[in-house]
Symmetry: C2
Subunit: 268 residues, 2 copies
DNA sequence: CGGCCAGTTGATACTAGTCAACGGACGTGG
DNA sequence: CCACGTCCGTTGACTAGTATCAACTGGCCG
């Protein structure tokens, strides 16, 4: 297993939510995240240009580093930690539109303002790129644009599934879908997305699949369009039905994948 | 006003849902839709290549021409008519993820299967491109890819708004948001998206803004995650509140934009 | 004319939201 | 050390917003 925290170089003295220093030219060459991210679209020989425009940024847990509606000046690439993306209504209701982990690219938008907010769920490390410079890179490297298009297409597909979930699924179906979407995610986020069905993650003599839930009930609720009470009740119900086992500290073990899959109602 | 049905050439003898003949090399040069679509990313001098790989296709109202889960062999560009895009559950519940009008590009996906279905709402004319050939075009013309990325980014933003709507808005808020999204759409779809604020929202002496609704109540319901009854009741309620006037044959006039906007709850 | 479909409206049911109480984990400070 | 407060999660009682079921209308077309 490679370096679990691939992005640690500089000292961490910063004040505002967003600050930081530019990377060294050779930075990206050794970045463990590159392989999983859009940066892989740039060859070794050109990657120094990318490195030099990347600003190292650290965001503390709970801090909002993209404000919905603020001028969209930067793109971001998550190099460590997890981020929640959301939209909100004036009265405070909010919808989490997605979770972004290591390797995820943020900030795609044609508009000059961010259409969503982003908040760090844990300590997050980011590469920050100005949009202007990023556009130059895209001009010079069409492969980068292709990679972004692929990323956007995947997100679009995910968004469509989420619309089906939010518009048409019941609370039980939503929670089941949510758990299944996360089966196979490594407990250590960002690594090992191989999703090998083989011996899977720690099945052993088969106790079921572990599902890491690095988010609170409130986050799950805001993601599924439910309340925390409903999420809690639904998980409790699944436990009494012996479909899952609820462990300490944000961990759930799926013990009846088959019934969960039926519940989730695979798409037609 | 230019040719309202810019894509009429060949005779219409066809049997299957999808068939058709390849375009003539000069076709795209005169296509009135080109300016509004991804095709504008290709210069006049190169557009013949695109024309030659485009297959003219007509789809009758109500026909599904993209089947969810089917092998994704083609991209489409809508040249006339309106399309609804949707995902469905095995038991028939369905969520319309979007409406696509003239100029809209369909089929973006990395997967080898369509993630959504598409059905003609009226008589639809399409340019159909094989994915393989389209990929060649993208290789040769990075501008095309850039244009597609912009298109995808916009759809992503729209999808996020829709998630907020589906997850967190009440029925009244959903219907209000839906109507407002369509204010300014020309009654004749595909033309005049200028959204000229010129004469204001035509208030003033003013009868209000016309909102064309070329879809049934069932479609609206499936788009908003509601039932047809709730949509009907909500529109009726808005009428009694004098926020809208309901005309014959799928037309609604917004008579109190301001109250509708408050209802829709502008995003934070 | 009769059948069908889209839409409206009413009565009732039910899912999930709201309000509230409680327990455990954790951190702080006496 | 323990008392205290806070945050997160669970559970219960009740409510409200939509869904469901059903009846009815008007338009369209064979």
């Amino acid at each position: 297993m490679p370096d679990p925290t691939p992005c640690q170089r500089e000292a961490p003295p910063r004040r505002a939510v967003l600050s930081g220093l530019h990377r060294q030219p050779g930075y990206c060459l050794t970045c463990g995240v590159r392989a999983h991210s859009v940066c892989s679209a740039i060859d070794d020989q050109d990657i120094a240009r990318l490195a030099e425009m990347a600003v190292e940024t650290t965001v503390l847990p709970g801090r909002t580093f993209i404000e919905e509606g603020a001028p969209a000046t930067d793109f971001f690439n998550v190099t460590a930690g997890n981020v929640k993306l959301f939209k909100a209504l004036p009265d405070g209701r909010r919808q989490i539109t997605g979770f972004a982990g290591t390797g995820h690219f943020l900030g795609l938008a044609v508009s000059d303002r961010y259409a969503f907010g982003a908040e760090a769920m844990d300590t997050v490390r980011l590469c920050r790129f100005s949009r202007v410079r990023m556009r130059q890179m895209m001009d010079d490297f069409p492969r980068l644009e292709r990679r972004l298009l692929a990323e956007a297409s995947n997100e679009l597909v995910a968004a469509q599934s989420q619309m089906l979930l939010l518009g048409r699924k019941t609370a039980r179906e939503r929670v089941a879908s949510f758990l299944l979407d996360r089966v196979g995610d490594a407990p250590c986020p960002g690594q090992d997305r191989s999703r090998g069905q083989g011996q899977g993650q720690s099945q052993g003599l088969n106790q079921g699949q572990d599902v890491p839930l690095p988010m609170t009930r409130a986050d799950i609720a805001d993601y599924l369009g439910l309340t925390i009470e409903t999420v809690s009740r639904t998980l409790s119900w699944m436990r009494t039905e012996r479909m899952i086992a609820i462990g300490k500290g944000h961990a759930v073990r799926v013990t009846a994948m088959d019934r969960l899959e039926i519940l989730a109602g695979g798409e037609a």
